[in-house]
């Protein structure tokens, strides 16, 4: 009898997953938690599509000669890999999945401010995705994910318009998600939950939302102009009409550089949560970490020119952009140092989410430091458009964002499903991903520094050894990515019951049952203390 009661408390029969059944209850849901799962399914789909293109790229580069695919096919492969990974996995990844699920829970609200808008944003995302999938299936697109004009606007024979329209549409889903988060965080915090009691994940989500709101529309209008140039002869970037292709680059990077921070800021928020929980220690310098997110978002808007050092730019402008780019290192370093200081005298344990968090910190440091290389004018001229740049941004986007995303998925999986993932398998896959990642991308730093250019399907023989390492690493990485897909799905049915707070952690999301009820909290929460007040003697299970 008591055992049954126990189970009921640990795993409530009545929760957001069981409140309704049937496909309609999912496709018409206004529950932020269900919408998060819709996004989870969508972006997982896109991740594996983008991963497939990456696999073919790495296979082609196994040998110096272009033997697996033709040059034109290769151009399409890296373009579609970039477009799908950036716009359909990395940018929506953490905000739309973890953010959607967690923002209302963390601020103690019943839902986001605009639930219908939230559902609409998933549909907008999906429609944009359909356009891009159409572009992929109708022969692909070969402009590179950057769509540089005039190639994209005049010369490319591939289906540019469909992809551009798809990204234009998807942009609005980002905007609506950001709008929803900003309004929710401003107006719907639980009683007692002041700004400086908010979890750091909320701070970084807020900063990310600012970029969504202010950056995305600029990309949207820029891509709309490219589409108009292709479809209606509007020569806005065409030199023949006095247009300037460089203006496209300025406008594109005005969004797409901040977009890097869209990808990495939420990841930093996740890591702050993980590091605190698994070292049982208050985050060192909470306010500095919180404001560093805002600082990164603001500075992120002022550095776009560093993508254009060799594109033709006044040397004074280049100097200023270089200088400002160095500035971004300060708030980024604040975060890394503060995470490290949080570990100090903490009671550290190494569950899977913590393994990912540690992986993130290490890889982010490498990615960030090499970012300073490419922000330096002289060095950048040497490594522009080489594999050095490719390795640099993959350390940030894959080593950083994907690691944090997976860490976050594991950490909040018990909250999302009510069940624990298998710890042994999860630790193994985290290790495989870390090894595979470094083996894939570290050789690319060397290749780039030796002068191997990006975006070519063949290369001189002397680069082959490092390319073989890289391809071998990619195959290990692929195994690491497939494993969580399998065991997480398995755990939804067979995983051990998690209980409301398995780690045990502090945030409001852990004060409700796992999985939470549709309205999130049986009793509306009231916050009476600072965040991250851990009791060191209580340690996570496992």
């Amino acid at each position: 009898m008591s055992a049954i009661t126990e189970t009921k408390v640990l795993f409530p029969k009545e929760n957001y997953l069981t409140s309704n059944y049937g496909i309609k209850s999912w496709l018409l849901t206004k529950d932020h938690k269900r919408i998060a799962l819709l996004y989870l399914a969508s972006i997982t789909f896109f991740f594996f599509i983008g991963g497939f293109f990456a696999t073919v790229i790495r296979l082609e580069l196994l040998t110096p000669k272009g033997d697996l695919v033709q040059a034109s096919t290769y151009n399409k492969l890296f373009t579609m890999h970039g477009i799908i990974m950036v716009f359909f996995f990395l940018i929506p990844g953490i905000p739309a999945v973890l953010g959607n699920f967690l923002v209302p829970l963390m601020v103690g609200a019943r839902d986001l401010a605009f639930p219908r808008l939230n559902l609409a944003s998933w549909y907008i995302f999906s429609i944009g995705g359909l356009f891009v999938m159409y572009s992929v299936l109708s022969g692909g697109i070969d402009t590179g994910w950057t769509f540089y004009t005039p190639y994209s606007s005049q010369f490319s024979q591939s289906s540019v318009a469909a992809a551009v329209v798809g990204i234009f549409i998807t942009g609005f889903s980002s905007i609506l998600t950001g709008l929803n988060f900003i309004v929710t965080i401003h107006t719907m915090r639980a009683p007692g939950l002041t700004w400086f009691r908010l979890p750091l994940f909320i701070w970084s989500t807020y900063a990310t939302s600012m970029i969504f709101i202010l950056g995305t529309p600029v990309l949207a209008i820029t891509l709309a102009m490219v589409a108009l140039e292709r479809l209606a002869h509007f020569g806005i970037f065409d030199p023949k009409y006095g247009g300037d292709p460089l203006l496209f680059q300025h406008l594109f990077w005005f969004y797409s550089h901040p977009a890097v921070y869209i990808m990495v800021l939420p990841a930093m928020g996740v890591v702050s949560e993980l590091v605190a929980t698994f070292s049982r220690h208050k985050v060192f310098g909470y306010k500095f970490v919180a404001f560093s997110s805002v600082a990164i978002a603001v500075l992120g808007f002022l550095v776009w020119g560093h993508h254009m050092f060799v594109a033709g730019m006044s040397v004074y402008a280049a100097l200023i952009f270089s200088f400002l780019s160095y500035f971004v290192a300060i708030p980024s370093a604040v975060k890394v140092f503060n995470w490290t200081a949080t570990l100090y005298k903490g009671s550290v344990s190494y569950q899977t989410p913590m393994l990912y968090a540690m992986g993130f910190i290490g890889l982010f440091v490498i990615g960030g430091m090499t970012g300073l290389f490419v922000a330096a004018l002289g060095v950048d001229i040497h490594v522009t458009d080489t594999y050095f740049v490719v390795a640099h941004f993959h350390y940030i986007m894959v080593g950083g964002t994907v690691m944090a995303y997976l860490g976050g998925i594991h950490y909040w999986w018990p909250k999302i499903t009510g069940r624990l993932y298998p710890e042994g398998w999860a630790r193994l896959s985290a290790l495989i991903i870390f090894v595979g990642f470094n083996l894939t991308f570290f050789p690319q730093f060397m290749l780039g520094y030796l002068g191997m250019p990006r975006r070519y399907y063949e290369y001189p023989d002397e680069y082959q050894v490092l390319n073989v390492f890289s391809t071998a690493g990619a195959s290990i990485l692929a195994v690491g990515y497939v494993m969580p897909l399998i065991y997480l799905l398995w755990s939804m049915r067979y995983g051990p019951i998690a209980g409301p707070n398995p780690w045990p952690s502090t945030g409001l999301e852990w004060q409700t049952s796992s999985p939470p009820p549709t309205d999130n909290f049986k009793v509306p929460p009231v916050v009476t203390e600072e965040p991250y007040q851990f009791k060191p003697e209580v340690r996570p299970v496992g």
Partner: protein, 225 residues
């Protein structure tokens, strides 16, 4: 919680479950619209940036090209939009004071003025089409570099077209508001949608207040006709 909802819900059919009270809902709605308008500023901002850069690069060509625009129609349209902002503001005032009839009247007046604007805009577009001033193979213009003048008209159509699209969406919003007012959904306590519609409408008007001098007036005196 459920009881609270029913009690408040009895007064306000449009009170949503995720909010604690109507005041919170009102604040969320207003903040949401302001954030959306911030997005819109940047959305138009890309075109304004392109316009500024190209105007600075080719001021004489742009001045000649802008002389091809119909100043009279543009000026009438500016007046029409300013009037529509007035009727919109009056509609919000009447919503605040619960005058349902006048609310509906002024919302209808706003839609009508919006339609007049779009009608005049359509006449202008038709004229440009007849005068071969639409970008493309048939573009012709006297007295200046036709290629660079075409850039002016690309920007003209992109900017006014995007603005007109916003007007159409705004008119749709007004029609929804009229239907809601018709069904007696608003009261002095609850009229957030009217206020949000007003914010949006004024924003679209302000965009035009920038477009009109940039496209129609700038450089006109230096050419003289």
């Amino acid at each position: 919680m459920a009881e609270t909802n029913t009690v408040i819900g009895a007064h306000h059919a449009s009170f949503a479950h995720q909010f604690d009270d109507p005041e919170q809902q009102r604040q969320a709605g207003a903040l949401g619209m302001w954030v959306f308008l911030a997005t819109e500023v940047l959305f138009f901002g890309g075109l304004f940036t392109a316009y500024t850069i190209y105007r600075l690069a080719n001021p004489e060509v742009f001045a000649v090209a802008s002389n091809e625009l119909d100043l009279t129609l543009g000026f009438i349209n500016t007046l029409v939009l300013i009037c529509s902002s007035f009727t919109m503001a009056t509609a919000v005032y009447n919503a605040q004071h619960g005058n349902r009839k006048w609310l509906i009247f002024f919302l209808c007046a706003t839609v009508v003025l919006g339609m007049v604007f779009l009608g005049i805009k359509a006449v202008e577009y038709a004229q440009k089409f007849e005068h071969h001033l639409v970008p493309g193979a048939h573009f012709t213009i006297e007295g200046t570099d036709p290629n660079k003048a075409q850039m002016f008209f690309s920007l003209y159509f992109a900017m006014t077209g995007l603005h007109a699209l916003h007007m159409i969406i705004g008119a749709g919003m007004m029609i929804v508001l009229i239907a809601m007012a018709w069904r007696n959904r608003f009261s002095p306590e609850y009229h957030t949608p009217v206020e949000l519609g007003g914010l949006y409408w004024h924003f679209v008007d302000i965009i035009w207040i920038f477009l009109f001098p940039l496209l129609y007036l700038l450089g006109r005196s230096t050419i003289g006709h």
